[in-house]
Symmetry: C2
Subunit: 394 residues, 2 copies
């Protein structure tokens, strides 16, 4: 039974969301296809090029590279595949550990597991929703040692090969400090930028700070290709290997089928890339709508005490992929009431992901103390975030 | 320098192909989109359902199940992913061996490798282009022994868990004998039916004989979804697990993200399934065109001695995915001349795949004697096979 003061808070929160999103049922994040999607899909069908041949894959990769400022973009079948290949190219070997936030979507951890490597879960903090760089540095200082130029976990004796920040709900992690930690502890930095296409840290696009970065174009992302992802890198040799590995490692030949390593069938089909090209043309407009939407939420929630809308970290420009309400500590037990009441009203909201360290397949993976991540998990609620909602009540 | 008699043979072969395919450049296998593709793609865009939500995925799965007679079909991102998951569900563990033909596309072997298992290459024979069941039985009798109810490789001491026939160029392998071998040697039968949608063995669809079977809808296949694949099974529990594993092993919940094992992001996007639904409606027509095309090639090549068009095995109805010319032993050194001359003329032809046992990543994998497979590799040439070619010179 919920106390009347709490019930009032829940009503206020749902009312504020309703004020922003207008009447009727509202999705968490809907794509929109009001550009050249139609034209480009028709071009695919008319030319018979829907699959591995066709111009849209290359065009989409050029658009991604140009927008993000990465020298190379390699499109693949989804964000999980992108991260798996990026980690492989970063030199992650079976039996090694990879540092990643416990507060992330399961794909980040799974991509590590596919390589036979072990995810090692790291603390998050509230100013970025990303990795807690202060606590991580302290943790690595105490719990790892350098052996032959490699970072080694003192307790498991395993090499820790890479550090994978994830830019939560689109907000850039503290990349300057993360780069510094990676340098100091001999870790390869690979960015999981699945959620942050259109997000910049000190004017530079997320996903371009590490040796490699990865994007996702799933249906609920800022732009969508149905399903899709991409690998970003500035290293020409890595880019070439990424393309090779994701296209079955086939050696170019006029007719012979020869493959020089165990590759993957991860190429993005032309029809999905066609959708991506049209979506990329509309990306700047989508981002500015999403940033407008933040302001509308912010205005409403300024009137309510006990919860606030998360604002982009300083020195960052975020895509505001998923708008995030953070309950104050006093109200964290009300999270499920807010979720229940809003969803019952047809307003789709959801909590953050269960911490990786609490999922049964990852319960025994190494982890640092995760109080900050756990607090964020208990206090965060994602709100409807479609660009179209910036226009106000429909 | 090619002898004049040989040059004459090469000219005859290219002339016969040209007679069938008509003038101009001709692809090896082109899709066609003359059904409801347009309508269904538009429905995706108009409804905003292009990704993981939408009706076409379920509809495509029902169409596949209904057409193949499998109780369940689970659509995924491509044929390689389908086979990886099917093998996992068949109980293939890391460090175990899986029997598969050396004469196959690299995806069959890669799917085994992704599980940490080891491909063990098997001989092929000429009446089906598939596994040589006589030699395989003899080989297993001599080289394996039963230990605790499992087939064990006497020389590597590893468990051999599964047998994976691949229905080459669409032609059904000898499924009756393969089932019998699987039974006698305690192997799980999983069919790689990537090439054989529309091919029947004794009236039953390929891919439905084993515990699980897999299909592919890549751009060059009989029907295409851009990129895509499916798992077939008659076992309800396996079907449920296949869906669970290919959708990140997420436990159904109104908002919580909980995953009970290491799953995969292998779901087919709705937009690709939409294409698949339209393509499935046209499948019977495509198959009958391809069977007509066979007759036209057969007629032309009856006039030429030294090579013949491969005809479906007895008791089978094949989709004739890729029409296949088999050179006689006297002419096998002319294969590359035929490939060169035809491709130079704009007629796309290609050889069979290099044997898996000759690829650098698989050179050290166990293999039985592969004379038959090697002979087929040296003698087979795939000819243009698009359904539209059945109409004759364009």
């Amino acid at each position: 039974m919920i106390a009347s003061k709490s019930a009032e808070f829940v009503n206020q929160v749902v009312g504020a969301i309703r004020e922003v999103v207008g009447p009727g049922p509202v999705a968490l994040h809907e794509p929109s296809f009001d550009g050249n999607e139609w034209l480009y899909l028709k071009e695919c069908l008319d030319s018979n090029y829907v699959s591995s041949v066709g111009k849209f894959v290359e065009q989409f990769e050029l658009l991604l590279a140009s927008y993000t400022g990465a020298k190379y973009a390699i499109s693949v079948v989804n964000g999980t595949a992108a991260l798996q290949i990026a980690l492989k190219l970063a030199g992650v070997n079976s039996g090694e550990e990879v540092l990643l936030p416990a507060l992330t979507f399961v794909a980040t951890a799974n991509a590590v597991s596919y390589l036979g490597a072990i995810p090692h879960f790291v603390e998050s903090e509230e100013s970025t929703l990303g990795i807690d760089v202060v606590k991580l540095r302290e943790y690595l200082s105490g719990n790892t040692e350098e052996q032959s130029g490699l970072c080694t976990n003192k307790s498991t004796k395993r090499v820790i090969r890479a550090l994978v920040p994830m830019h939560t709900f689109g907000h850039p992690s503290d990349l300057e400090q993360l780069l510094s930690i990676a340098r100091d502890f001999n870790l390869v930095l690979v960015e999981d930028a699945a959620e942050s296409l259109g997000s910049f840290y000190q004017g530079q696009h997320t996903g371009t700070f590490g040796l490699l970065g990865t994007l996702s174009f799933n249906g609920n992302k800022t732009i969508t290709t149905g399903g899709g992802g991409a690998i970003l890198t500035n290293d020409e040799a890595l880019a070439r290997r990424a393309k090779h590995l994701t296209t079955t490692a086939k050696i170019a030949h006029k007719w012979e089928f020869d493959h020089d390593e165990i590759g993957y069938n991860y190429r993005m089909p032309n029809i999905n890339a066609a959708l991506g090209c049209a979506q990329m043309e509309k990306l700047p407009g989508k981002i500015s709508s999403k940033r407008e939407l933040f302001k509308r939420y912010e205005k409403e929630f300024k009137l309510i005490s006990g919860a606030s809308i998360f604002e982009e970290p300083s020195n960052c420009q975020s895509n505001y992929w998923l708008q995030t309400l953070l309950l104050e500590d006093d109200n964290l037990d009300l999270r499920d009431y807010v979720l229940e009441a809003s969803n019952k009203e047809g307003i789709m909201t959801r909590p953050a992901w269960k911490l990786m360290s609490n999922l049964s397949p990852y319960r025994n993976s190494p982890a640092m103390s995760l109080e900050g991540a756990n607090s964020l998990y208990r206090r965060a609620i994602n709100l409807p975030s479609s660009p179209v909602l910036s226009l106000g009540a429909r």
